[in-house]
Each structure stands twice: as C-alpha cells, then as structure tokens.
Amino acid sequence: MRNTVRSSTEIPVDKDDGLHLRPMQVLVEKAAGFESKLTLARGGKLVDAKSIFEVMTLAAEKGPLVLQADGSDADEAVRALSGLLDKELGGG
C-alpha cells in the first residue's frame, strides 16, 4: 500500500470562449479512472472532478482552474489530467 499523498496544480484556460462541454466530458471520463479524490476549484468553488454534473457549474470563462488530488495515485492523476487539459484548453 502506498501512502496517501496530496498533489495539486494550476491549469490555465486560455481559449477565449472558455470551457466547453466536450473537454469537460473528456476530463471527467479520465478522472474516473483514478483512485484518488479529485477536486477542481475556481473562485472559491470546489467540485468533484469525477462528476460532469458538478464540473459544469464552474464558471466557464477564461482564467486558471486548480486541480487537487488526494490519494495513492495523486501524482499520476494530476500529471495525466493537467496534460490532458493543457492540450484541450491551451491556446486558441
């Protein structure tokens, strides 16, 4: 058994029109594969990153999101999800 670790990172949302449903869906699907508890935060609001229902309530405009993971695979989860979001949301 590995120890529970906490890991977090900041993800920029650079697209002018902000977040769309599709990248969110991709994020949620990927997040579901990790054991760790995964949280997305923005402007004082925290939501479960494994739920599209919750993720869609985050204000979706431009600006950073914070991803936080607690659990045995926290590091991997943060790495995988931030990589994914960078690709989906960066630039444009």
Partner: protein, 577 residues
C-alpha cells in the same frame, strides 16, 4: 411589423410562417410517499435513467445518417450527465428526505442545478442540455409519450423560447425553413445543428415568443441576426432579393463549372464521383456536376427503415438511382453495417462484442446473414439492366473472403437466371481497400477485381489503431501519417499495374492539400459528398500535375507527420494562389 435583433448563428435568409413551440415546462407536483416505498422509488429512478440512456442511443442511431457523427457528441454528453454519480446521490438523498417520488426528487435537483447554471453567464448556455435530460426523465417517470417529436404539416419557421438539442434534431428534413429562439449563444447546439442542416438560425432573440403568434409571417436573416415579423411588402421584397442572391452565388459556382471538365492545367482528365446515402441525392450529384456515383452507402436504407428492406425496396432504390444516372456509373456498396452502425434492422441485435470494429461488421456480417446479403445482391443485379451498375464489397481482408463473396454472387446470378429475371451478365465487381492487410496485398486483389475504392476513414483507423470517434485519442487519427500514405500509394500503383481504376472515397479527398497529394500519387478518380464537387472541380482546374507530383515525392520521403503536414499546407497554399 416588428424587428427582433439577436445573434445570427447559421447564415441564409428564410421567409415563412411561424410555428411556435410552447416551452416544455411540465410542472411536477411534489408527490410524497410512505417510508416503506423509498427503496422502490430509488429503483424506479435507476431504471428511468437506464431507459433514458437507451432512448438517447436510439435517437443517436436514428439521426446519425441525417447529421453525421460529430454532431451527435451532444448525446454522449447527455448520457454522461444522466449516468453521473453526483446527480444520482442528490436525487436519492431527496427521495429519502421527502420521502418523495422519484420524479419530484429529480425535478427539485435539476431545477436547483438550472438555477445555479443561470447565475453565471458562461454556464447559462448549458441550461438547454439540462432541460433535455430533465424532459427525458420526466417522460419516462410520468409515463408520458415523447413530446419532442414535433409534427410539422407544412414547412415552417420554428419559434421557441428554447429548443433542446433533441427537439432540434427531431424535425423532419426539409420541413424546417429556419429557427428563431430566445435563448442560446453562438456555440449552442441549435447553432451547430442548424449549420449541419443548412438552415438559417438566429438565437438570443429577447421577447420573441411574446411577440409572435402561430402562423405569423416571418423573415429570418441568419447572416444579420435579425427576425422581422409581419413584414410589409417593401421589406419582404428586399429580403426575397437577398435570399435570391445567396442562392444565386452558390448556383453561379455550379453553373460556371457545370459544362467544364474536371481537368488539370495541362489537360489531365480527373473523374469526380459523388458519395450518396439516399436515392434523392442523385439529383444533387447531377446538378453539381458529378460524373457518377462512386459510393452508394446502402446501409442507410436499413437504418432509415429501422428494419431490413424488402428485395423490392432495395430494387426500387437502386433502379431509380441507376436510371437517373445513366449512362454514368452507380457503384453500389453492399451493406456496411455492424460496429458503429449496428441496428436491429440487421435481423436482430448484433451480439454485444468487446471490439465491434474488429468484430462481425461489414462483409463479415454479410456472410453471417446470407439471406439478407442475397436479397440485396438480387436487387442490385436486377437493377443492372436499368443503368450502369457496379458492385462494391466492403472491408475485404483476404482473397478467401473475396472468393466467397463472388461465389455467393454467382449463386444469385444462377437463381435469377432460373427465375427468368433479366440482369447484366458482366456487372463489374470491386473491393474497398480499407484494411491495411488488403492494401499490402493490393497487387493480388487487383488481378481478381474490376476496380478499387480506397476507404480512407477506415484505412487510417485500422492502420493507426485509433478510433476517431473517441475524443481521448482522436488526435492520433492522422491522414498525414507516412504509413497511411505508403498504403495508399501502394494501392494506386497496384491498380495502375493491373490496369484497373482506383478511386478514393473517404473524407480525405475533400481536403485540398490531400487532394493535391493524391493527384501527385497518381490518383485520377475521387468520390466525395456532392456538396463539394464544384469546389473540387475548381481546385483541380488550377493544379499542375507536375507540381502535385513533386509535392507527393517530397512527402513520401518524409517520415514525420508534423513535417508532412507542414509541407502539404505550405505547398498547397502556393499552388492554389
């Protein structure tokens, strides 16, 4: 006369009568339940979710031929939402806390969610998606029939406060002249779908539903983002002119090119065929200057009817297409069902397969359902005396399979002969080259068939082991991958060596830079959506074949995808200047 200003999300002008859709806000009366029914209500909720997801899948299947796969990603998102654990937790919590009935609990949770989404401008655009899953759940939990399917007797302009994506896609093709609604933004689903259907749409029209009654004469200007109600004669005439001009400029491109051949600068003749799904598209293909049907995707006959078509229905579809196209050829591909096109119409549901794209699809399904396969072949052969018909077998991977398909065709010929039906004795037979194994063996196949048709979508998918419908990996779907190029080049060369024609009928040839590359590789036949035929013809008439060859040989030396794309984009831009 009134004017409403909104956001134009799909260009074009339409004049017609308003069909007003009342907002579907089915009020749900809170129904409280005794404690011993809590578990039963939770179960009822769970089965409603399952049924709602099934309903979405049905819509998906029904609408894919009309809209194309990419637009149906909306439905995947809805499935994800319905299946969401957090939603379920909240609904179950409400059922217990009431204790109340499932529909009342779901209604409370979803209404709160909608409130939350409305609080921020950037999230308000998703409210219509929540309405959509809400109405699906309600219909099931309250046992109401589908209220989404709006039956339009006459073509009309749809006016609504908000349309759910399901409502938008459910309209019958040709019956909706335009869409005008109060809610929505530029990226709303209605916008996407209106574009796909090619009808004008304006959204964000504040106060519209209060100002319009059913039957009012309306003008919708999708370019300007404007709606005019009960226009006077002068305004009406002005818009009729605008509408006319738009149609005219499209027509002009078509007319300009109609009598001109598709040939390159040096006069090399290129053949442009059209891909069609339904017989009525034959006319579009002719109008747009296509020289034949390069790919008739007959599986849509099955999907459209939701059952296996009878031999007569097959025959009538093929006969009319062949007769209309005569003396130009119509290449009829036998049903390519299974995998993403699995339907009950294939004679009972296809058994759940762990890897449907590697499973019993396409020609393999034809062999599995010999009766169905023979009925289709009979109809094709019978249609062969009414025009110039060719047969195309999809997804052939080995000579054994090809032989089997030809043997079955021979049996059908004999049967028809015995029964006294007339048919063309030497109908040409071709294979789709869409599996890497077949592309590698193209020279062997070339000796056994009359023509090749390269299906680039599947060829890329199987060569690179990537499902382009899966958003997580779809960026690996790269037509520019050198392995794909080599397989296509090899297939073209094998066809040339054997003296049989080779066509490409995937989406790849619709892209200008790939069009140039394929020409450079020696391809002389293309089959695409008839909509882009004039566009392709115009491009071909600007291309010098030597330059295309240079580009192709440069690309073929390049092992990297990124460099290949770079070469293709810069060189094709230079060439098309």
């Amino acid at each position: 006369m009134d004017r409403f200003k909104g956001i134009g999300v799909s260009r074009g002008v339409a004049v017609g009568d308003a069909f007003v859709i009342e907002s579907e806000r089915m009020p749900v009366r809170p129904r409280y339940i005794p404690e011993d029914q809590i578990e039963a209500e939770v179960e009822r909720y769970d089965s409603a979710v399952v049924a709602a997801i099934e309903g979405i899948r049905d819509d998906q299947r029904r609408l894919t031929p009309r809209l194309g796969e990419e637009y149906l990603a909306i439905f995947e998102t809805h499935i994800r939402m319905l299946d969401d654990r957090s939603l379920r937790d909240r609904v179950v919590e409400r059922i217990r806390a009431g204790p109340m009935a499932a529909e009342a609990a779901a209604d409370e949770v979803l209404r709160q969610h909608i409130q939350l989404l409305f609080e921020d401008k950037s999230t308000a655009r998703w409210v219509s998606d929540i309405y959509d899953i809400q109405s699906r759940l309600h219909r099931i939990l309250l046992g109401r029939s589908s209220g989404d399917l709006v039956e339009l007797a006459e073509p009309a302009i749809i006016v609504a406060e908000n349309l759910t994506p399901s409502q938008t896609v459910a309209f019958e093709r040709g019956k909706v002249l335009a869409i005008a609604m109060e809610a929505g933004g530029e990226t709303s689903h209605t916008a996407i779908i209106a574009n796909a259907l090619g009808i004008p749409a304006v959204v964000g029209l504040r106060g519209l539903t209060a100002g319009v009654r059913a039957g009012d004469r309306l003008i919708v200007d999708g370019g300007a983002g404007e709606v005019v109600t009960e226009p006077d004669q002068a305004i009406l005439a002005q818009y009729v002119q605008i509408e006319h001009d738009i149609v005219e400029s499209d027509r002009q491109l078509i007319d300009e090119l109609h009598e001109l051949p598709a040939e390159t600068v040096a006069g090399r003749r290129i053949t442009l065929y059209a891909n069609i799904e339904f017989p009525y598209e034959v006319q579009t293909a002719l109008d747009n200057g296509a020289e034949g049907i390069g790919l008739y995707r007959t599986e849509y006959l099955y999907m459209e009817k939701g059952r296996e078509p009878t031999e007569e229905e097959h025959f009538e579809a093929y006969r009319s297409a062949a007769a209309l196209m005569w003396p130009r050829p119509v290449v009829i591909r036998t049903f390519d069902l299974g995998a993403d096109k699995a339907t009950d119409s294939t004679g009972g549901p296809v058994t759940a397969e762990p890897n449907p794209f590697l499973g019993c699809r396409s020609i393999r399904l034809c062999f599995d359902r010999i009766g169905m396969f023979k009925a289709q072949l009979r109809a094709i052969l019978r249609a062969s005396v009414h025009g110039y018909v060719k047969i195309l077998f999809p997804m052939i991977t080995s000579l054994t399979e090809l032989k089997r398909a030809k043997d079955i065709l021979a049996e059908v010929r004999e049967e028809l002969d015995t029964e006294g039906y007339p048919f063309e004795p030497d109908v040409e037979v071709g294979v789709m080259i869409e599996v890497p194994g077949a592309a590698v063996m193209a020279d062997a196949f070339a000796r056994e068939v009359d023509f090749f048709s390269i299906g680039t979508n599947d060829l890329i998918q199987y060569t690179l082991a990537v499902d382009r419908g899966n958003p997580v990996v779809s960026d690996l779907f790269q037509p520019a991958h050198p392995a794909v190029m080599k397989l296509i080049k090899h297939t073209i060369e094998a066809g040339d060596a054997a003296g049989i024609p080779v066509a490409v009928c995937g989406q790849m040839s619709g892209d200008l830079s790939y069009l140039i590359l394929l020409l450079g590789l020696g391809l002389r036949q293309f089959s695409t959506s008839p909509k882009i035929t004039p566009e392709l013809k115009r491009a071909i008439r600007l291309i010098k074949i030597e330059e295309a060859r240079e580009i192709a040989s440069e690309v073929m030396k390049e092992p990297s995808i990124e460099r290949t794309i770079e070469i293709l984009t810069t060189r094709s831009r230079e060439l098309m200047k």
